[in-house]
């Protein structure tokens, strides 16, 4: 879960990390008022996504009028597919230096890692690519946490003036504490500024919390829905659906098999319309999964590819048959069924739907791709006929 900057900053500030003075605005009027009280400000679009700076989501405003204009421009605009509903209006900071600090999870080293750089304020991936020696990564043993002495050593890597090093070390201890207590995948401050008075101040705040830990993370802001309308409907029903731009609807069990099925569709010259898996605990919920896939108007052919291990294919088949009878869709469907429960699943599909599952995945994929191509050609011909009629 991506926590928007303003909410992340509130959490950071509550933990004692200095942030600029500012306020949220949901209108140009409020943005102007904040500008009037703060002087020159930054106006920052609040969206659950990084990289908005490069896309023009952060605007400097030296007068209240400019602040209002910036808010007018940003509010309602879209960044990474999400509409801006709020802007953060913050007092500008007189920046002497910009640093980078972050704590994240290193899946290869299997531990938290602190990343610091004296080259903050720019894309850290680019800094790392151009001058990797400017980016320091320090692994933290999770059982011990970040101890004060280790934090001092890390802070010293940046070669700052001596007075800054203990302050930065203290901030790193706080940031690591937030990483652990919030079940974060990433806490990042870029830039962490040293202002003209020599104080550290977090000009940005990025916080991504592990979705799997939300059950024990109370008090977080509500998550704004993201993704396409279909993806959002699926998420509401606890399905992970990824909408693609093709015309072959895909239903398979398990993430690996579903991805492989999409790959096979592409390899045969077809285009998958979605990723949606009915494996794991979802194998008992094939009926709503089918309805989701078929609700995509681009789907001209459906491919059901099951290879049951944990998931019982006969239970999935029952769910699909119930859904098929209820929805009575007109799209053709191609089945391939193997693995746990396959005999009964095949029998059910044959007797209830009158469809013979294919023996191999390749045959089912070929048929589904051909069906989609035929339907697309027929639709194009029909459209031609209609326009020909309209002209005569």
């Amino acid at each position: 879960m991506f926590i928007e900057e303003a909410d992340a900053k509130a959490l950071f500030a509550a933990a004692g990390i200095p942030t600029p003075i500012g306020a949220l605005a949901d209108s140009a009027v409020v943005a102007r008022q904040v500008g009037e009280s703060l002087g020159p400000v930054m106006v920052k679009a609040q969206v659950p996504s990084g990289k908005r700076g490069k896309a023009g989501g952060i605007v400097a405003a030296s007068t209240p009028t400019q602040a209002a204009e910036a808010a007018t421009r940003l509010l309602g605009a879209e960044f990474a597919g999400v509409v801006v509903e709020r802007v953060l209006v913050e007092a500008q900071v007189d920046i002497a230096r910009e640093l980078y600090v972050a704590v994240t999870v290193d899946p290869q080293r299997r531990c938290p890692v602190i990343i610091v750089s004296a080259s903050g304020g720019v894309d850290i991936e680019e800094v790392n690519a151009e001058s990797p020696q400017a980016v320091h990564r320090v692994e933290i043993p999770i059982a011990d946490g970040l101890e004060a002495a280790a934090a001092l050593d890390i802070a010293a890597l940046l070669g700052l003036a001596e007075s800054h090093t203990p302050t930065l070390a203290g901030l790193l201890v706080t940031l690591y504490g937030l990483f652990r207590s919030l079940d974060a995948q990433l806490v990042e401050i870029n830039p962490l500024a040293i202002d003209a008075s020599g104080a550290l101040i977090a000009l940005d705040a990025k916080l991504i919390i592990d979705d799997n830990a939300l059950f024990r993370q109370g008090g977080l802001p509500a998550q704004r829905p993201s993704g396409t309308a279909l993806e959002q409907r699926a998420a509401e029903q606890d399905f992970l659906l990824v909408e693609l731009d093709g015309d072959v609807g895909v239903l398979a069990n398990g993430a690996g098999l579903t991805m492989s099925t999409m790959d096979a569709v592409s390899a045969q010259g077809g285009r998958p319309a979605n990723f949606l898996e009915v494996g794991g605990m979802a194998y008992k919920r094939a009926t709503p999964a089918l309805a989701l896939v078929l609700s995509n108007p681009n789907v001209r052919s459906l491919l059901v590819n099951l290879c049951g291990a944990y998931a019982r294919t006969d239970v999935i088949a029952e769910g699909l048959i119930a859904g098929w009878k209820e929805l009575a869709p007109e799209v053709p469907v191609s089945f391939c069924i193997h693995g746990t429960g396959e005999e009964r699943a095949r029998m059910l599909v044959e007797t209830e739907l009158g469809i013979s599952p294919h023996d191999t995945m390749v045959a089912a994929v070929n048929e589904a791709v051909a069906n989609a191509a035929d339907a697309t050609a027929a639709a194009a011909a029909a459209a031609n006929d209609a326009s020909a009629e309209a002209t005569t």
């Binding site: 299997r110 999770i142 690996g256 991805m259 492989s260 790959d263 096979a264 494996g279």
Partner: protein, 288 residues
């Protein structure tokens, strides 16, 4: 570390044995010949699940039985407690089935396992199968369509893709020395590199099938390892069509900032000398 390979069935402890899933899979494992010697559920010591005695703690179970591996059937939020209990009690191998274990919990589990020199398989994994000997987890080891004793070592992040490829191996008359299901999380206890080392050391394995997917760097690490192993490796990477920034079912199957793509993984594996299949149905022909 206690080896997983060998002629004798492993002595298995089932944690969460009295729950629905724990009881169902205990029965399936016993039916196939797995040696489930004990179960564990807090507060339920003294009960039985079928012939399996239930203990309240892992330590109680270890007082009465030698244990090679514990398989954990508890919900994700309790997985850390159960895994740490087993590892700290001295169980040498732990299989964590649950999906959605918080990643901070996984880091704690793996740090503790490293100190204790224990092996963790998972989380979010289907388990392990030694055809003809035993299985531990939630793969249908008993299915003669999917598993037959043989000499191909199969390792997969995904259970379902593993099932598809195992089916094709069996149809082609090839069997498996073992199937190792590593799990779909971004961080798992046993990696492709670990699996390659086990298959390399196993005299019953002639060749390895490595089934990866987009996200992370496990396949890239495996490519480095392949350069120093002797047995042929055939690979397939799922998710060539995965759009950037979208989790493809598995928490670990995520392409971000252009990293972790199927193309880059396939290229690394090919450069290391592995045969890489474009579609999973080509794997058998590449083994020939």
């Amino acid at each position: 570390m206690t080896p997983l390979f060998g002629p004798e069935p492993l002595r298995v402890l089932v944690q969460g044995v009295t729950g629905n899933e724990g009881t169902y899979w205990t029965e399936q494992m016993l039916g196939y010949g797995s040696r489930v010697v004990a179960g564990c559920t807090p507060g339920k010591g003294g009960q039985h699940v079928g012939p399996v005695p239930v203990y309240s703690t892992v330590l109680d179970a270890l007082d009465a039985h030698a244990i090679d591996v514990s398989v954990i059937f508890v919900p994700a939020r309790f997985a850390k407690g159960a895994a740490l209990e087993a590892i700290e009690a001295g169980v040498p191998n732990v299989v964590v089935v649950a999906e959605f274990v918080p990643i901070h919990d996984t880091m704690e589990i793996l740090a503790t396992a490293k100190r204790a020199e224990a092996r963790v398989i998972g989380p979010n994994c289907p388990g392990i199968v030694f055809p003809g000997r035993d299985f531990i987890g939630i793969m249908p080891g008993w299915s003669e369509r999917l598993f037959a004793p043989g000499r191909i070592g199969v390792v997969s992040r995904s259970g379902s893709l593993g099932a598809l490829v195992n089916l094709q191996l069996v149809e082609a008359g090839l069997g498996q020395s073992a199937f190792l299901g590593l799990g779909g999380d971004p961080m798992v206890g046993t990696t492709f590199v670990d699996a390659l080392a086990m298959f390399e050391a196993d005299p019953g394995t002639d060749a390895v099938v490595l089934l990866g997917e987009v996200g992370g760097l496990m396949e890239e690490d495996a490519a480095e390892a392949i350069a120093t192993t002797t047995k042929p490796v055939v690979s397939f990477i799922a998710g060539a069509n995965a759009p950037e920034g979208k989790k493809m079912g598995h928490a670990g199957a995520l392409v971000s900032n252009g990293r972790g793509t199927a193309a880059s993984k396939m290229q690394s594996l090919r450069a290391a000398g592995a045969a890489v299949a474009e579609v999973p149905t080509d794997i058998v022909s590449l083994l020939a």
